[in-house]
Amino acid sequence: MFKPSFKPKKTYIDLSAVKKTPVTFDTREGNFPCPACSVWLSEAEKIQNNDFCPRCGYHFAVGALERIYGVCDENSFTELDAGLSSLNPLDFPDYADKLAKAREETILMEAVVTGTAAIGGHNVAIGAMDGRFMMGSMGSVVGEKICRAIERAAEQSLPFIIFCCSGGARMQEGMLSLMQMAKTSAAVGRLHAAGSLYISILTHPTTGGVTASFASLADVIIGEPGALIGFTGPRVIEQTTGQKLPPGFQRAEFLLEHGMLDLIQPRLEMRSLLVRLLNVHQGGNHDQK
């Protein structure tokens, strides 16, 4: 193999190439602009490129199942607690319609999918939130499913991995939603006491009650590049404080700089990172003999 005689240059993302790709405005029907660089793409181009923008590497939103399949060993995922569905406990106006619409659009019953799977041969309890389902908001069902997944991990000495994506607590279930923050956090307490490894991956966007509960309580907190992560949403901050927000505010890179994340990992390399973490934790439970 050819060995360079000089010290190889550190590899950075080559921005010059990115800039050279012209911005296209192929506004044919079904095409859409990349939210980051405004290049127009077709669905086929997006899928071909693994849900990234071919020009700037923007991570497009993906559904809960895609996330799970993206990191788990083939055919290893078993969904659990799939029979849980939301009621309208407060008789909140329009809630039933919104639920029906979300179910129809996403073919999911709720904003989180949980179950067990294997990653690199290690058994894990895993969950992924789906931002398309009422903005991934956490109501009774989301809280209950996450709690059950965490409790299962604690009981069976499994590591717990969750992909977070949420606008916060679901307003339509009122205080029942808010209390899910406390409920899931208490469950994480039991997970830690049981000695299970807990990895939380914060994807775009993770805000509000989810960030302020189980999402932030993991042993390892990983951000996806460019993901918006915070407690109060940027629009509300701008409105209430009247301050112009600094560029990059509340993005994963900003949070890493401020000490809130362990690392940022691009989506395509997420599986290899999880395998590495599970390997060094010997399956993720230090009590295991």
Partner: protein, 320 residues
């Protein structure tokens, strides 16, 4: 409560002014209406009290935000002796939106932590309108750990619009600070009792409301988000906050039905809370009663009950 807080008060004011006219007239004409006047006066007061007893959810929201409501320091002064306030999170600063320290309540040394709003705009700027920053939550966490070390029960007083929605709060990890408290309180090895005294605003209030017992004042509210926020997001019209206040079921009666709170402490009608002896007595009595109960429980049992209490919250449908 003497100021004109609600629109409906102007109706009663009108009645009262008419009555004053009658009184003047009786003097001018030199005829004695004093019996009749006294009767009408009584009737007006009754009607007004009756109306105050049936506030709408939105009126309760406004009531819960009233700056005349007593705050944590007032409750400590009323209920406790030997209060020593403790400051600072040992990491960054001290947050005046949360006060905490140790005090003696009914012969028991307790740790007291609670939100603190100001009584006027000037004070409110100091206390950041009762909206804690991460430092406040970290101070609370530190005081909880201190309580645990010395086996002191904890009393928290809740009255906040929510956590501070500022750039600095985000930079210093507001979400991380709150989540630490939620987990920390769920495992704290001492009894915890919370009293929602005013506005229970979202996660910023919940952070101090994970407890073995939760008491709530009859005109206090506790909500997933403010009715204004819900109205602006769901209805795109802030002016319809009153509709949202009703839909969110955020008052004490609804929350007791949902099993989120344990006991409602009835507020006096048209009287400042702390001047009402029956109110202060029932607050003291309830606090003591619940504290005696939870202090008499073995800690492992208490923690299991605290966990199960949270665990069962939520309503859903399940098909096997």
């Amino acid at each position: 409560m003497t100021r004109n807080k609600f629109e409906f008060e102007s109706n009663y004011r009108l009645l009262e002014s008419k009555l004053a006219e009658l009184r003047d007239l009786s003097v001018t004409l030199n005829c004695d209406f004093s019996n009749e006047i006294a009767k009408v006066e009584k009737r007006i007061a009754e009607l007004k009290a009756e109306r105050y007893r049936h506030l709408t959810p939105w009126e309760q929201v406004l009531m819960s935000r009233d700056l005349e409501r007593p705050m944590t320091r007032d409750f400590v002064e009323l209920l406790c002796t030997d209060f020593v306030e403790m400051h600072g999170d040992r990491l960054y600063g001290d947050d005046p939106a949360i006060v905490g320290g140790i005090a003696v309540f009914e012969g028991r040394v307790v740790t007291v932590i609670g939100h603190q709003k100001g009584k006027d705009t000037k004070e409110n700027i100091v206390h950041n309108f009762g909206m804690p920053r991460p430092e406040g939550y970290r101070k609370a966490f530190r005081l909880l750990k201190q309580a645990e070390k010395f086996s002191r029960p904890v009393i928290t007083f809740i009255n906040t619009p929510g956590a501070d929605p500022g750039v600095g709060a985000e930079e210093r990890g507001e979400a991380w600070a709150i989540s630490q408290l939620l987990l920390g309180l769920s495992q704290l090895q001492v009894p915890v009792i919370s009293v929602i005294t005013g506005e229970g605003g979202s996660g910023g209030a919940l952070a101090l409301t994970v407890a073995d017992r939760i008491l709530m004042f009859s005109n206090a509210v506790f909500s997933v988000a403010s009715p204004e926020t819900c109205a602006s997001i769901l209805l795109r019209d802030v002016k319809r906050a009153d509709e949202m206040a009703a839909a969110l079921k955020l008052n004490a009666v609804s929350l007791k039905d949902m099993g989120i709170i344990d006991e409602i402490i009835e507020e006096p009608v048209m009287e400042p809370l702390l001047s009402s002896q029956s109110f202060t007595q029932s607050l003291r009595y309830s606090l003591k009663k619940h504290l005696d109960e939870i202090c008499g429980t073995e800690i492992p049992d208490l923690l299991e009950m605290r966990y199960q209490r949270l665990r069962k919250i939520g309503r859903f449908h399940e098909i096997q």
